[in-house]
Point group: C2
Chain length 475, copies 2
């Protein structure tokens, strides 16, 4: 790997928005051209007519005839946290670990990422920018009986590439049961063929694309969130050193973010953060009983969809897909459809002059260990925003009513189009006045970006928070 | 907490072997006196005669009539790792999180730990030194209908003490199904009553007691292993600074250990360590099927015990206990008895002049996520040491044949006497010649002490490795 550390390689790429291959203004037209080049149609169809899918006789679960891919079953959930303590819901069971991988390569010493223009049936605009590879185990073990996903060999064969990032991370725990993917970035030294739907981008260019609504896929965002820009083993040395290289104003939000990665002056120590998680996992209860879809009393299951009796939360619908650029040219599948746009937001605040993020211990039925660390506000897949604001989730009003000058990031991002149908969330990062008090209610904690990144690499941060973190720019 | 960080408080206490209350030479006589003061008898009795315990009708599982405490059930295990790929075994199911807690208090600014002389039925010498509190949830919610454990209020009531350490850590995954305890150290500012079986010790004194065979309980050892001596948020600043205060020779093992906590120069980066764990969790398979004890074909279950047909691994036996110093004065219970003394060992080696520890990805049936990080050698609860040495676990010969001058620690420690009957393990830390090559087989990795401690605080290190780490002394 030469003398430069991986963190420095990533950081230099993150600070580079020029591309030796194409100008940045060509990226969006290229994506449009890829959409035009690969006609693609998605039609909503009744669940009952999905080829290969059916409701199992006894359980009523929605299953594929191969027994593979995923299945939709039922859960009865009880907890002692939050306004709703007991509910039923459908959940996706897909107990295999997929690969979300980005191929990286140095050109003249600068790191580029091989990003893909890819269609997914649930995308709002048909084509998004995604990782080099997004493969379920079924994909790369060829249950589809289609072609092996392009570039997957760099992730499966240790001789072909050197892993720079390799972390197991959880998916949406509101709709997936303990589902994880292997989030990887691998460094390739050999020549890499660049197929039509692929293009080399710097990390800085990728970060710019995160400001375009619904363009960067959830799969790409979760991998990007795992990329370390700082070596924490050396973190104590950083403060004051690198921010100068960034040419940032010392009072800027980005300067503070970078300095906070250097450690120190966190309002809660690392031990406090770990103790906070231990404490909520002891106090919070989560009892998840599996049951057949047929036995859920508050959900209806008919020819067309699986939906809640009050049309709340989400529904499961069917689509028929015709494509030319996928492993398989046509297929049917169920997708999760939300009943409204969600909100995923971090409140941040300078405490001791260091930016802190307000995290919550988020209880969700698919969590393997009761809670994961979530963003300040997470009301995806609900209708909380529509209801009377007195019943809004905590801090939602603060985010929505924030003055424009305190909004550090705002963009609409959508969920993974291979499982979710047109599901959008407002992403916001809002900075609070440093003079307010730092008290937070049970289940919330102020952490620095370094602490949040440490939790993330050990698999303790949920996908909603990771995805929002991927949108943080150092510029 | 004043200006001194918790890590500095712990470190100063770890470097202090003088006690304002008693001289160090009084500790062992005090323990003997506590044993004499509280008569205690343990009698092995047939399982069938255990009061309150019985084999359930359909499953054959060993259960308590209250449905609480724990139960012994059966597992059928399959994996794709190691010499044995498929086996049956009994396992203890105790799905509640207990508290292992030490009360700490400053006297003239120096931190003392309130250690307990406690009898457990499975102890070899009846009394061991243990944490201030070791309470199952049944204990402190009073299923026993006995007295509330002393001092437990400091751990349950957040107003009484400030947590310095609070981590969820797993127990023996060879015999417990996903069992965790909350490992805590709390700082109390109020006056603390000191009852007969309790005594204030510095961390340095406690560490000295770890060199006495079978004296420090497993429960104490796991809590001690969680104590941070270095603030990793500042770790980059440490190297060269603190070791001088330790007055150590720069070429000593302890100096290297301390310097290695300051980060840098690890042969594998932090990302590599996380990627190694992600990789083995994708490649290694562990399928655990629950079954009744009655359906295990290779285990016999009779009036006296549950044991393997070849007398291997372990057995489950019954004891009748008469005590005067416990919450309940007499009781019956099952205990796990090993068929031989085990070995728990780390190989260490200076690589780039920094001490590294050789860890293994240890597959065990009670692990929640296939593997946890284990010591180099872990053959507890087996009879691998007795068999033909060609079938010994890897590196066992290196440990056993190590010349005396390379042994950094050697002592016999025993497992928790509340669940294990006279189960002893040889604990060894052996330093290898730095000139040998650093290649290791699949499933093993060299990590620094800083990296190992980071894995530990995030719950990724098994109890055998943690317990051995607690024996590391900075002197």
């Amino acid at each position: 790997m030469g003398a430069e550390s991986r963190e420095r390689m990533f950081l230099r790429s993150a600070l580079t928005e020029d591309n030796r291959f194409h100008s940045g203004s060509e990226t969006l037209p290229w994506i449009a051209s890829r959409a035009a080049a690969s006609p693609f149609s998605v039609e909503t169809v009744p669940l009952a007519s999905l080829d290969g899918w059916s409701f199992a006789d006894t359980t009523g679960n929605l299953v594929h005839r191969s027994g593979k891919f995923f299945r939709v079953e039922g859960l009865c959930v009880r907890t002692n946290v939050g306004p709703t303590r007991e509910w039923e819901q459908p959940i996706i069971d897909q107990p295999e670990i997929g690969i979300l991988g980005i191929v990286a390569k140095r050109f003249d010493g600068l790191l580029y990422f091989l990003m893909q223009a890819k269609m997914e049936p649930g995308n709002i605009d048909p084509v998004q920018v995604t990782s080099t590879v997004q493969a379920t185990r079924s994909n790369y073990t060829q249950v589809h009986q289609g072609a092996l996903p392009r570039y997957v060999e760099y992730f499966l064969d240790p001789g072909r590439a050197r892993p720079l990032v390799d972390q197991l991370q959880y998916e949406q725990a509101s709709t997936f049961l303990g589902k994880r993917n292997r989030n990887m970035v691998v460094l390739v030294d050999d020549d890499v063929p660049v197929y039509d739907d692929f293009r080399w981008l710097t990390l800085g260019e990728v970060t710019q694309l995160l400001c375009v609504p619904n363009l960067m896929s959830m799969d790409a965002r979760t991998v990007l969130s795992c990329i370390p820009l700082v070596d924490y083993a050396e973190a104590g040395h950083l403060e004051g050193a690198l921010p100068a290289a960034l040419d940032l104003r010392p009072d800027s939000f980005q300067y503070g973010l970078f300095a906070s990665m250097g450690g120190g002056r966190a309002v809660n120590s690392d031990e406090d953060v770990i103790g906070w998680l231990a404490g909520v996992r002891c106090r919070y209860e989560l009892d998840v009983q599996h049951s057949g879809l047929a036995s859920l009393t508050s959900w209806t299951r008919d020819q067309h969809s699986i939906s809640h009796e009050d049309d709340r939360f989400f529904s499961v619908v069917g689509v028929h897909v015709e494509a030319t650029s996928r492993e398989v040219s046509s297929w049917d599948q169920p997708l999760v459809k939300s009943s409204e746009k969600g909100m995923i937001a971090f409140l941040t605040k300078r405490i001791n002059e260091v930016p802190h993020f307000l995290v919550q211990a988020k209880v969700e039925p698919g969590n393997p260990d009761i809670v994961l660390v979530g963003p300040t506000v997470q009301c995806a897949l609900g209708r909380e925003r529509l209801s009377d604001c007195s019943s809004w989730p905590r801090y939602l009003d603060t985010v929505i009513q924030a003055p424009a000058e305190s909004v550090r990031f705002a963009c609409v991002q959508s969920e993974e189009g291979g499982r979710f149908y047109h599901v959008e969330n407002d992403y916001r990062i809002v900075e609070l006045d440093p003079d307010g008090d730092n008290d937070v209610p049970e289940g919330y904690l102020w952490v620095t970006l370094r602490q949040l990144n440490q939790l993330l690499r050990y698999g303790e941060v949920n996908i909603e928070a990771r995805s929002l973190l991927s949108c943080l720019s150092l510029r």
